[in-house]
């Protein structure tokens, strides 16, 4: 039952988040499902046993790595989501909107003005320019980032991707709060910047033995902290 609830929540969260954008690609959707799994999945299995927790974290990492590997097979397809809506009634009627022929008109009783509604006055989150710009920036950045994790064939670079995924899973686990799921989920505020920043500057680089050594040391430290978190 708990697992079903979890799946429903993840789906709802993902779909709601994606509906912030007017036009999205399938790549973009898959990438976010993977990200949300990385961020939200581990907390659900707070267990007393180190062994169990580690197995679940490892299993999740393997699953997501496989997911990233098959990422290249996702078809390139754009989807148009509802960009704007006209559900703008108010308790005090100042305007009335109605369709007449091909056009939608909005009549303001106070101003005694008739406006062609297609030319504006339709609500969309895009109207909030700051948010709109940030969402567009995010979309651009993500498409750049996705090109880094798309693997053509299995090579040494893929190890880096796997390590990056494992580090994200560990970090979200470490930052979680054993007494509250909501606080744990709220930690995405820290985990999201970590994910992209460490991906860009530490993990997703061309293969180099010294870098691999550094990453293994870093992940070793994270694992120790994670084990310590489980124990306490």
């Amino acid at each position: 039952m708990k697992f079903i609830q979890f799946v429903i929540f993840i789906l709802l969260f993902t779909v709601s988040f994606l509906f912030l954008f007017n036009e999205i690609e399938l790549h973009f959707i898959f990438f976010h499902i993977l990200l949300i799994l990385m961020f939200f999945f581990p907390y659900y299995f707070w267990t007393e046993s180190v062994f169990k927790a580690m197995i679940i974290l490892a299993l999740l990492t393997v699953l997501i790595c496989a997911g990233v590997y098959f990422f290249k097979y996702s078809p390139v397809k754009k989807m148009n989501l509802v960009p704007q809506y006209s559900l703008n009634i108010e308790p005090q009627i100042k305007t009335i909107d109605f369709e007449w022929g091909k056009n939608t008109y909005s009549y303001s009783f106070q101003m005694q003005e008739l406006k062609d509604k297609n030319k504006g006055d339709v609500f969309s989150l895009d109207k909030f320019v700051w948010l709109h710009n940030k969402l567009n920036q995010y979309k651009k950045y993500v498409s750049q980032f996705m090109s880094k994790i798309t693997v053509a064939k299995l090579d040494l670079n893929f190890i880096f991707i796997c390590l990056w995924i494992y580090s994200v899973v560990l970090i979200s686990f470490i930052f979680s709060y054993s007494k509250s799921l909501i606080v744990s989920y709220s930690n995405i505020l820290f985990v999201i910047p970590y994910t992209f920043f460490m991906g860009d500057f530490f993990f997703l680089k061309p293969f180099a033995p010294m870098l691999l050594y550094g990453q293994i040391v870093f992940i070793g430290i994270l694992t120790v902290i994670a084990v310590y978190r489980v124990k306490n």
Binding site: S16, L87, N88, I182, V183, I188
Partner: protein, 458 residues
């Protein structure tokens, strides 16, 4: 914290969130309200009552919000302005300007001069008629027409004089007596030439003029004849008849049929008489009408003027929009029983709409705020067009809002249940700020998602 304090604090938080989004960020009402609702439901259950499984506070908040939305839509006074009132200053100014254009205003002196012009025309004393018109010297539509009518007559008369000069020897000498007004002597001289065409004409003219001078009744008949010729000359010019009736009100019965025909095709000073006695204006009238060909039009009138007799109606600033989106703006129009009359580029234009007067009169009585449930049936029966185009979509939106409201509540309760399923402990105060950010984000994406989904589905 005591439960009632939590309750009031929650209401304050919701009001704060709502005002922030609605007033400061100026997002739509629906979005702002639903966003604040989702936020407060999640906030109260997950933060204020973190360790309680029943979520009583959340349930109460839901009920209060439900009540608020109904109270907001049904109890708040609506700003849907339709009430009839006496004329505003702005309308009075416009009306006075229009009256200047349409209403005839001649001083008594000018009126007397025009009357004597008509008498001169009856006497065929065209020179004197033209001189009198020169004295009035008013750059006036009607007098210009009268002048050209007289000019045609003068030319015709002088042609006859020229013909007579050729036909009758010494006619120039005879004619000087006619010009002096010595008609009996002129008659005596011309009688010998009665057998000629010109002679006969001038003999009869002298005879007629002599009779006119002594018999007032015959003079009046002659004037009426001249007026008939004038009206006939400008048959298609509706304003001319208004001018004539203004000068000779007794002629209204004679031209009754033409007047009532013209009334449907023109705006005249007679129409404005209705507006002299305590006219009333009604703003914001909407109506949907079919013309003779069955084409549908949407008509909205910013101001409707009604006089004492309630007929005809006058519309200020109206717009007629076809289904194809063609717009026609009419600054001033008269509404008769089945037509719309307005002044266009080529004189008066008429748009025929069967029963336009009754439709607009009905809309005066039945136009109300579309949210009141009592009027739904009324609109359906009396005003199917308004119901279909305005009331129904409005109610659909209201239903959509309710559906969004319920769905968001269900979604919030599911989310609350999910978050409480694993850890049922009250979170420490230190951790409050993080979940608040998360809940804001969650409420934003939930609200946006649900509104978009319903907009897409319905």
């Amino acid at each position: 914290m005591k439960s009632w304090m939590k309750f009031f604090l929650s209401l304050l938080v919701q009001a704060g969130v709502f005002l922030l989004v609605y007033k400061i960020l100026q997002w739509q009402f629906v979005f702002s309200f639903l966003f604040s609702l989702t936020f407060i439901l999640l906030f109260s259950a997950l933060i204020f009552e973190g360790n309680q499984n029943k979520n009583m506070l959340t349930v109460i908040l839901f009920i209060i919000n439900f009540f608020l939305i109904f109270a907001g839509f049904f109890l708040l006074p609506s700003k849907f302005d339709y009430k009839t009132r006496s004329l505003l200053k702005e309308t009075q100014v416009k009306l006075t300007e229009l009256k200047k254009k349409y209403i005839l205003s001649y001083s008594q002196k000018e009126k007397n001069l025009i009357y004597s012009v008509w008498n001169d025309l009856a006497y065929s004393d065209y020179k004197s008629a033209l001189d009198k018109l020169e004295i009035i010297k008013k750059n006036d539509y009607y007098l210009e027409r009268l002048h050209s009518f007289a000019m045609v007559k003068v030319n015709r008369f002088y042609k006859l004089v020229e013909e007579a000069k050729k036909e009758i020897p010494n006619f120039t000498h005879f004619y000087s007596f006619y010009q002096k007004g010595d008609l009996s002597y002129f008659k005596k001289l011309i009688i010998y030439y009665k057998n000629t065409k010109s002679g006969e004409y001038f003999y009869n003219l002298a005879l007629k003029n002599m009779e006119l001078k002594v018999n007032h009744k015959i003079l009046l008949q002659s004037v009426t004849k001249e007026i008939s010729a004038f009206v006939h000359e400008y048959e298609k010019d509706y304003l001319i008849l208004h001018f004539v009736i203004y000068l000779y009100p007794e002629l209204k019965t004679k031209y009754y049929y033409k007047v009532s025909e013209d009334e449907k095709k023109s705006i005249g000073f007679d129409d404005f008489k209705q507006l002299n006695e305590s006219p009333k204006e009604t703003p914001n009238l909407i109506t949907f009408l079919k013309n003779h060909d069955g084409e549908e039009f949407f008509i909205f009138i910013r101001k409707l003027l009604e006089g004492e007799g309630e007929y005809p109606l006058f519309a200020f600033d109206m717009e007629v929009i076809s289904k194809e989106g063609e717009k026609m703006s009419i600054p001033f129009a008269k509404i008769t029983y089945d037509s719309l009359v307005f002044s266009g580029k080529k004189g008066f234009e008429t748009l025929s709409f069967p029963q336009i007067y009754h439709k607009i009169k009905e809309s005066l009585a039945s136009l109300r705020t579309p949210i009141h449930p009592r009027w739904i049936m009324e609109y359906r029966k009396k005003y199917p067009e308004v119901f279909q185009n305005v009331i129904k979509p409005y109610w659909m939106k209201f239903i959509k809002l309710l559906l969004c409201f319920i769905t968001l509540t269900v979604l919030s309760f599911f989310t609350i249940r999910y978050f409480k399923a694993v850890f049922l402990e009250k979170i420490s105060f230190v951790f409050y700020f993080l979940p608040v950010f998360f809940i804001v984000f969650l409420s934003l994406i939930y609200t946006n998602f649900i509104i978009k989904i319903f907009e897409w589905l319905l």
